[in-house]
Amino acid sequence: MEHYLAIVMVALGTYLARYLPLRFRFRIGIEEYLEYSSAGLISALFVTSLASSKPVSASVLALIVVLLTFLRWRNLGLSILAGVAAHLVITLIQKGY
């Protein structure tokens, strides 16, 4: 029962953190502030996801593939697929397959 209660409470807290700013359209600053904030947040999400990716060396090399294919094709989905494929190949090579 304790598990269910914890799940419901965390779900409620998470939903409110997402819902309240959308419902009441909080104003935390000017447009410029939000623009810099979103740039900083995406950068933070990128760094955090890169740091937690395994292996990091394969991720760094695969990111080069992502960057080059995106600059070439300007297609988000294709670049990500190319990156995932490159990551898999690099990982397999590193493991000696």
Binding site: A17, L50, A51, F70
Partner: protein, 216 residues
């Protein structure tokens, strides 16, 4: 626009599925039943918080509830930004699936239905991944080479989303946000680092901009 959002959710789907499978296996190993595990993904829909919840539950009920909620306070910043960029008519619906990755992709949106498309794709991947994890998780994760590569799609996604921000003072915000996240990641508080990156980046960039204007 909904279909466009659904198509746009593919990178998120690829990244969420293996993480959800991992969550399911970990939750069951920590003593959560199959029903509780699936219910957590259906109701909470927030990766880091769900992992914190199952990890902290054996220690204390209070920390298992408070810490996951604290981890999600950064979503307040997301909501503020989305509500300024997109005309949100049904916040009770849009709010439910506003995860880190959905937020990042929604910055390219100008329609609420596009965000719903992203959210439905992401949510289905998360819940179905959890379901798969509870049914045959050990079999799906037996290929240790494939799972990390699928998760890499999230890192690739964030990199591409960073590119338009590498201009002018926004590039400085990227540098500040990345540095803050890196520091907090190193001390094991990644979620707090993300929250602080969203708060500190605009403060520091605004100050630098004001100083450079004064010295001109």
């Amino acid at each position: 626009m909904f279909k466009k959002g659904l198509k746009g959710s593919v990178p998120i789907v690829l990244g969420y599925f293996p993480v959800a499978v991992t969550f399911a296996i970990s939750a069951m190993a920590m003593g959560f039943s199959e029903t509780e595990t699936i219910l957590a993904s259906m109701l909470i829909f927030a990766g880091a918080s769900q992992f914190a919840l199952i990890a902290l539950m054996p220690q204390s009920f209070l920390s298992a509830v408070v810490i996951p909620i604290a981890l999600n306070l950064r979503h307040i910043v997301y909501g503020c930004i989305v509500s300024r960029r997109v005309n949100v008519k049904k916040p009770f619906l849009t709010a439910f699936g506003l995860t880190d990755e959905v937020f990042a992709l929604s910055l390219n949106a100008d329609d609420e239905k596009f965000i719903w498309g992203l959210e439905v794709g992401a949510y289905l991947a998360w819940v179905l991944g959890t379901l798969a994890g509870t049914i045959g998780g050990s079999f799906l994760l037996s290929s240790e080479a494939i799972a990390p590569s699928l998760t890499f799609s999230l890192t690739a996604l964030f990199l591409i989303l960073l590119i338009p921000n590498l201009k002018g003072y926004r590039a400085l915000a990227v540098a500040v946000g990345g540095t803050v996240a890196m520091i907090f990641n190193m001390i094991g508080c990644a979620s707090i680092g993300i929250l602080l990156a969203g708060i500190l980046s605009p403060i520091i960039v605004s100050r630098v901009r004001a100083w450079s204007t004064t010295w001109r």
